[in-house]
């Protein structure tokens, strides 16, 4: 049961081969045993999880269950969940118990009946690519516990990779679902911007943030996305579109699929062995009937630079709400109101968050706004236009998710710029607002490699189809780390 797919779990629950209570207990016990080593969860509450499982069993018995009712899930600690401590990986919110549910939580738990196993560790306010900026300590990669799991959704990635949960939620502002999925051998999907509601998801960069599923397979991701997506009037950027079944095209043959290979993603800057694994995956796609064509994203090399203006600018505005007045941390000793703000924020935020807030404050300040913020937005347009042009020649774009496999804890922590470059292949997708995935495609020195799939706007079902057919032909996504017990 620990390694079962969501489809198998759904069938087992429906056939009464196992109850949600038994299933949840299995994962609760596994978390108690392995989380002290891996640090994937910040908050667990077995009683709450088991109570939700009992409620799911009632629904199953009453015949009112949905496909996912009773299946346990790990929730990234960026989603406000009523009655659960919701920290966003920060001292600022270390004692914040949310008085309300994010829409994602409401849809997945109250409506679909998934059972929360707890809140997963993450880089502080989702700002990081290694999970090392968490106030609650780093998460360890189960493929090598001396290495990082990636970030910012590192806790969610490890929870699923180590089978502490069958699946998890993540969020992705510049690669935070796809990069940890790649580094931990998972399948992760960042939907088109606006497909999943941001209500109750603690904001980092509002024009880029998007939630999505992290699981073992594309099929699992499709089932999860069905429960997460949908219009929400509480999110002003939520898109009003008819509901979709994201699993509808999973089995479609890939014959005739045109795969675009951006020459900028296949040049220098990527580890040679990682690139070899990606090339092998592309050869597999050709065997499945797809064709490849070279395309170009001539401005993609500017994406990291533009992102580190736009994301911090939005973050400096979003994080101004943490002032020690209405919620969150307040310093012990302070003088006047301004001093209270300054000390509460100095003590409540970690170094990386402070750096990004300060970059944001600077690029938005008088005299620099045009040169930095507007210039970054113009480059964002050029990057988005590159994708429009490329999709004239292909259906899906592919390349590496990350330029390297999981790096060692501490290896990049001292140099922010080196850390930022971990996301060179993922950031452009957020700037354009496109859907992107990472799919397991091999190993280098025992560490997983991810293949990135990028689709046109609203092409989630097509991406999931391409990933699923590849996973029918390969077994990389079924490999599990050994030695965990």
């Amino acid at each position: 049961m620990i390694n079962a797919s969501l489809k198998q779990l759904s069938q087992a629950l429906a056939a009464k081969q196992i109850s949600s209570l038994e299933l949840t207990q299995l994962f609760v016990d596994r978390i108690a045993r392995l989380n002290p080593t891996l640090n994937a969860f910040i908050t667990i509450d077995a009683e709450k999880s088991l109570a939700a499982a009992r409620a799911a069993d009632v629904r199953i018995a009453a015949g009112t269950a949905g496909r996912l009712t009773g299946i346990p899930i790990a929730q990234k600690d960026i989603f406000c969940a009523e009655g659960w401590r919701t920290t966003c990986g920060s001292k600022m919110l270390a004692n914040f118990v949310s008085p309300y549910d994010a829409t994602v939580i409401r849809k997945m738990e109250s409506e679909a009946g998934l059972v929360s196993l707890g809140k997963t560790n993450m880089d502080e306010f989702a700002m990081g690519s290694s999970n090392e900026t968490s106030f609650f300590g780093p998460v360890r990669n189960p493929w090598d516990t001396e290495r990082v799991p990636g970030g910012s959704s590192g806790g969610s990635a490890v929870a699923v990779a180590a089978r502490l949960a069958p699946a998890a939620t993540g969020t992705d502002t510049g690669g935070s679902i796809r990069q940890p999925a790649a580094l931990c051998n998972l399948t992760g999907l960042k939907p088109t911007y606006g497909v999943v509601s941001r209500y109750g998801m603690i904001a980092f960069a509002s024009s880029l943030d998007q939630a999505g599923p992290m699981a073992a397979s594309a099929e699992d991701c499709a089932l999860l996305l069905n429960s997460m997506a949908g219009f929400d009037e509480r999110d002003s950027t939520s898109l009003e579109r008819p509901a979709e079944d994201y699993s509808r095209d999973l089995e479609k043959p890939l014959a005739g699929l045109r795969i675009g290979l951006p020459k900028e993603f296949f040049g220098e800057g990527c580890d040679a062995a990682v690139m070899a694994a990606v090339r092998a995956a592309l050869a597999e796609y050709e065997k499945l009937g797809a064709t490849t064509v070279e395309v170009s994203l001539p401005n993609s090399h500017l994406s990291v630079a533009a992102y580190y203006v736009i994301a911090p600018a939005e973050a400096s505005s979003n994080l101004s709400r943490f002032d020690g007045v209405r919620y969150g941390f307040r310093a012990e000793d302070y003088g006047n109101l301004d001093d209270m703000y300054m000390k509460s924020r100095a003590q409540g935020f970690g170094a990386e968050v402070k750096r990004r807030i300060m970059i944001g404050a600077y690029v938005l300040s008088h005299g620099y706004y045009d040169a930095y913020y507007l210039q970054a937005q113009r480059i964002r347009r050029l990057i988005a236009n590159d994708f429009v042009e490329a999709f004239k020649f292909c259906d899906v774009i592919m390349g590496p998710t990350s330029p390297s496999t999981a790096f060692k804890l501490g290896e990049k922590a001292a140099d922010p710029v080196q850390m930022y470059l971990s996301d060179i292949y993922t950031i452009a997708v957020n700037l354009a607002g496109l859907p992107g995935m990472s799919v397991p495609c091999g190993f280098v020195g025992g560490l997983p490699v991810g293949l990135q799939l990028i689709g046109n706007y609203f092409a989630e079902a097509r991406l999931l189809n391409a990933a699923h057919r590849y996973q029918q032909a390969t077994d990389w996504h079924l490999r599990r780390p050994l030695g965990l017990g």
Partner: protein, 95 residues
Amino acid sequence: MSLTLEQVHRIAHLARIEVSASEALSTQGHLNGIFQLIEQMQAVDTTGVEPMAHAQDLAQRLRDDVVSESDRRAAFLAVAPETEAGLYLVPKVIE
């Protein structure tokens, strides 16, 4: 571009983050490294390119002006550091 220590202090003040002298020094180094990365943008001619603020070009939705939320004042005040008589408490602003 290179930020001076004085500029670092000014930015920290704009961001309402207290920084000590030693923190300002390490922050200066880190920020200058990041701005070196950002500077790549300046070589690009973007004349005539419309700035892109958002992934989807959408008009703001309007809704009817009706009550849609219930009164949860107590629950929301309960998570504040300090409250009194239904109000958030902060240091005295007007002497």
